[in-house]
Symmetry: C2
Subunit: 333 residues, 2 copies
Amino acid sequence: MIETPYLLFLGDAPDPLAAKVAQGIKDWRPDNCVGQLRLEGCNADMGLTDMTLEEGRAAGAKTLVIGVANRGGKISAKWKEVLLAALDQGYDIASGLHNLLRHEKDLAAKAQETGRALHDVRIPEVEYPIADGKKRTGKRVLAVGTDCSIGKMYTALALDAEMKQRGMKSSFRATGQTGILITGEGVPLDAVIADFMAGAVEWLTPDNDPDHWDVIEGQGSLYHVSYSGVTMALIHGGQPDALILCHEPTRTHMRGLPDYSLPSLEELRDLALALARIPNPGCQVVGISVNTKALSDDEANSYLAELEERLGLPAVDPYRHGAGKLVDALAAL
Amino acid sequence: MIETPYLLFLGDAPDPLAAKVAQGIKDWRPDNCVGQLRLEGCNADMGLTDMTLEEGRAAGAKTLVIGVANRGGKISAKWKEVLLAALDQGYDIASGLHNLLRHEKDLAAKAQETGRALHDVRIPEVEYPIADGKKRTGKRVLAVGTDCSIGKMYTALALDAEMKQRGMKSSFRATGQTGILITGEGVPLDAVIADFMAGAVEWLTPDNDPDHWDVIEGQGSLYHVSYSGVTMALIHGGQPDALILCHEPTRTHMRGLPDYSLPSLEELRDLALALARIPNPGCQVVGISVNTKALSDDEANSYLAELEERLGLPAVDPYRHGAGKLVDALAAL
């Protein structure tokens, strides 16, 4: 569990895309952000107050979160200076970088000396159990995609935000680095040992109030042969009551697999539902979330209308239209 | 890769079942065994020549394989004495025990001093790639089960043995501890990090001669919610040309999951085939392997005849009848 609130470290981000982790935190958990810390040459801006480390602490920040990708797979001397000073000033540090904070000897030594925590969110910090498949109380919804990187995290965050706005009980359950940094907790599922994947998802979504929704972030795709085992563990460990199908209509092949075409939404619906009904016979597919970024407004609207007609399910782009229709469908379950 | 031949260490096995790893090696790779080493009180016997460590070395043994489960999760002083002496005499040691050889300080120090290897086959020793899904040359068959621990390894070993006897080109590809100790190599798939599972299976079953069969050991079951992600990675990483369905007809529920009933063979056939056709559209289900241990000869024969009629596929218990019918079906593909 990462302590909030955060000061967001944007470093010397060459462009806004490099700071997409910070953008996610700012978009979805603005109350967790007291400000941003930018170095010379930074070309990203979250629209937060620029602060020094001292100002961040004075504003209550407990953790410095690295919200930017680094270049060349190493932590530069300029960054290191800031990170060491942050530990001295009482910050924990959280990072989703491939190269781990704990492997930097000076950071590890300083953290030890100051008693601060280094959170490398790519690495599991819990010994997860083996899944027992027992039916848990509370409700769960999982986003599954026709491909990887298709909007599953965005969809889950939008569902959670809409539910909270309506006063429904919900928790976004992060299963990847960015999601974990956004919420401060979760399971880095792609880094879990095979035997414990489904158990990690059960651990993440425990018994809860009967009217509480766990909104589980999806990973991979049943149709993406590199990562389908991770998706399977989410479906069987998450025992969802509801599935949301995620799709991007202009992809010509599976991400990183030029020889693989995407399945149809009907194929995904039938396969995911058959698998989800093994732990939860009552599971339903309740809606479709489409990333229509590549379409005009008119194209998007007519595509979504066509999908609603074809599949008999509400279809939205939560970025354009919000997740209201999907939450209506979940609330009606 | 574990060096052969082996001297099989049976320790003080309280009963034959405790030495089932040794039994598997003796049954399937008798040429790899120069003899057995038993301590006082051992109640298991592989029918091999009893040897001291010295005699084993003189007979050519390169590795002492722990073929017996230990009690209480620790390596006893009596065992330790033998293992240390083995390293001194030039043996490597291989083990599938939960407690790792490398974590025993005296063994680790002695191995370092003598330059010998400690093989803990539960732990991956390779950095596996992420799967790329590219079509590979050669043929592959995978055993999939209605449940865990249902005879998939036995089936695969029987297929491989029958193919070799017919002069066909085949390799048994081990994916679990026992299989790895039997063949001396493989991937301990349940211990691989989630993101690399399918890539590990691709690595295990690389391009090969067009008429060569990789006979891939299955793990878990698509219907077993604790381990289904591992099974999925085998199907997508293995890109099998042929599937064999494995079943045990008297199970009343999924192993360790009292609330889950087993799927029918038809359900398994349809689900496994749909998933296998994602990487390999030509995949076929070619036969059924049934563990009929709990049935009489007559019951077994009538059950298998009924299955053949019902599913239109050859159905055998490879332990009772050999794997000939299944290899006929593979050869006909």
